[in-house]
Amino acid sequence: MILVALTPDTDIATARAPGRAAPRRAEQPRHAGQPRRRHAPVFRFLTLLAGAFVFLFPFYYMLIGSLQAEPDSSPGGAFPNPGNLTLHNYREINGAIDLLQSLINSGIFTGGVILGTVVFGVLAGYALAQLEFRGRGVAFNVMVLVQVVPFQLLTVPLYVLIVRNYGLADSYLGMILPFAINSTAVFVFRQYFLQLPRELFDAARIDGASELTILLRVAVPLVKPALLTAVLLTFIGPWNEFLWPFLITKEAGMQPLAVSLANYMNNVAARAANPFGAILAGACVLAAPAVALFLLFQRHFVSTNLGSSVKG
């Protein structure tokens, strides 16, 4: 719920940034005499830089560690050493946990969730934003309430129901079911559909278009950026999810990468020649798709020029 409210807002923040700087610069001369003021931006920049280092270094170290033939945890080991670089760790982890199959499982799990979220989430978001029907207020309140229920508390009853009662252990359906519609994404959809002017839909209705046609031909094309944001948001959930697929997949051939890697860390790694190398190689493979997608589409976490597409 929270992330949703935030996506459009941050967007505005970035757009306004240059404008906001102006008054601040204007007040500078008043305090130009104070050295404290002049040092502040430098200090701020250094703080941010230190923060960035703390956040990024483990990722850099993950990559370096995954390429080391011998694990080197001395300070010198943090720098690439041409004599100690190898791809052997990737072969090692691939031999232990069939990376391709795990990636396919992660992909099916994530894809199923995205499909369910886009199809049913768009329908629900559109209805909640633009259609007038009995029970809409109740539906919306239920949706907000659900955000407060922590998923982990439902794991035991869901496990009993899905694995024991419905026999869906080691199946993609069982994996996808509890995540099938991402509530945060429904919220994003609703928020964006709300921003569309009502007259647009009334005009289409007068032209005799059915609600489904209006949704697919008018509304959805206008909220394409929101669709992308929601897909990205939805992606990181199942792709990174550990607890649920871990509970319901015992068969190695069905496990998503997060689960098979975790099992490798807990059970097998101790016997490997270079356990950290292999773990880090697996970690790189698991992290890469999410990081790559985020870097590629990071703009969509902030800027969505919805306003102009409606007005223009």
Partner: protein
């Protein structure tokens, strides 16, 4: 935001029958069909399991072959009594309290400071924003791998600290295991909370900073007297979310400290639920732990609200 919650004006209905129908079903009853799959999903995946968890916690519930008819008698508070008489459970709740005491204040302070710094128009803004967000979007399983590499007995952190390195090392030290997990989770989630504060900072009126400057307030003073009160609603939200996320801790103690080690010093209630409910086959006990956890989180959240809104 507020405007979006208002009910939009109803278009006037034409004929009488139409007016009656729209009184009963709304003018666009098709909307109910559009929402139905989602509501069905919520009922099946949230509401029913929630009720089922409470039901299990009051019964002698055990796993049986599908379709087998077995007697699972009502046992009142017996499961709760068993849970509350178990020192391991108390330890898990103490652990999560230690976790929250470290994680929540650290999250609030660091994310607000970094968001404020990031909010000023500066160079490399996008780079910073992205780098803070990267841990949040990466699988915990992947990042745990590199933290194990960094914080094991012979890891980079200890080799940098040299003689100052703790012994036993971070994750196998009963006093440091939980704090290390708390710091790890703070680091992992911080990007999300920074983004939340960044959005909240847009709502702080710029005039307040100007009048603070006129009154001769320095940067630090205006941060304390304008920014901090200005983002108080966001702070309430950050505290609540960090508490709820923290109470659901599972992956980190499971992987980082090898299943809540050393000697249960980093066991979390959710990890215990997994061990009792699924590994040992006592879903009734696990459900009772879950219900107690929810009540505990609600109480803590209420207390936090009181404290945050008192001033």
């Amino acid at each position: 935001m507020t405007a979006t919650f208002q009910q939009p004006a109803r278009p006037p209905a034409g004929r009488l029958a139409g007016r009656v129908a729209s009184k009963v079903f709304g003018s666009q009853p098709l909307g109910a069909f559009f929402v139905a799959p989602y509501l069905l999903f919520l009922a099946a995946v949230f509401a029913y399991p929630l009720g089922f968890a409470v039901y299990m916690s009051f019964h002698d519930y055990f796993f049986a072959a599908p379709g087998a008819i077995v007697d699972r008698p009502f046992v009142g508070f017996a499961n709760y009594a068993a849970v509350l008489g178990d020192p391991t459970v108390w330890q898990a709740f103490r652990n999560i309290l230690v976790f929250l005491v470290i994680n929540v204040p650290l999250t609030v302070v660091l994310s607000l400071l970094l968001a404020t710094a990031l909010n000023a128009a500066i160079r490399l803004r996008t780079f910073f924003r992205v780098s803070y967000y990267v841990p949040y979007i990466t699988a915990s399983v992947a990042v745990v791998g590199v933290w194990l590499f960094l914080f094991n007995s012979n890891g980079l952190v200890n080799s940098l600290l040299g003689p100052l390195a703790p012994s036993p090392s971070w994750l196998v030290n009963e006093h440091l295991a939980m704090p290390t997990v708390a710091v790890y989770v703070t680091w992992k989630q911080l990007g999300f909370f920074i983004l939340l504060y960044l959005a909240a900072l847009q709502n702080v009126p710029k005039e307040l900073y100007e009048s603070a400057a006129v009154d001769g307030a320095g940067r630090w003073q205006s941060f304390l007297s304008v920014t901090v009160p200005g983002v108080r609603p966001a702070t309430t939200l950050v505290v609540l979310l960090a508490t709820v996320t923290g109470a659901n801790l599972f992956t980190e103690p499971y992987l980082l400290t090898g299943g809540g080690g050393p000697d249960g010093a980093s066991t979390s209630p959710v990890l215990l639920m997994y061990q009792r409910g699924i590994e040992q086959g006592n879903p009734d006990i696990a459900s009772a732990i879950g219900v107690i956890l929810v009540i505990g989180v609600l109480l803590v959240a209420l207390l936090q609200r009181r404290l945050l809104e008192r001033e």
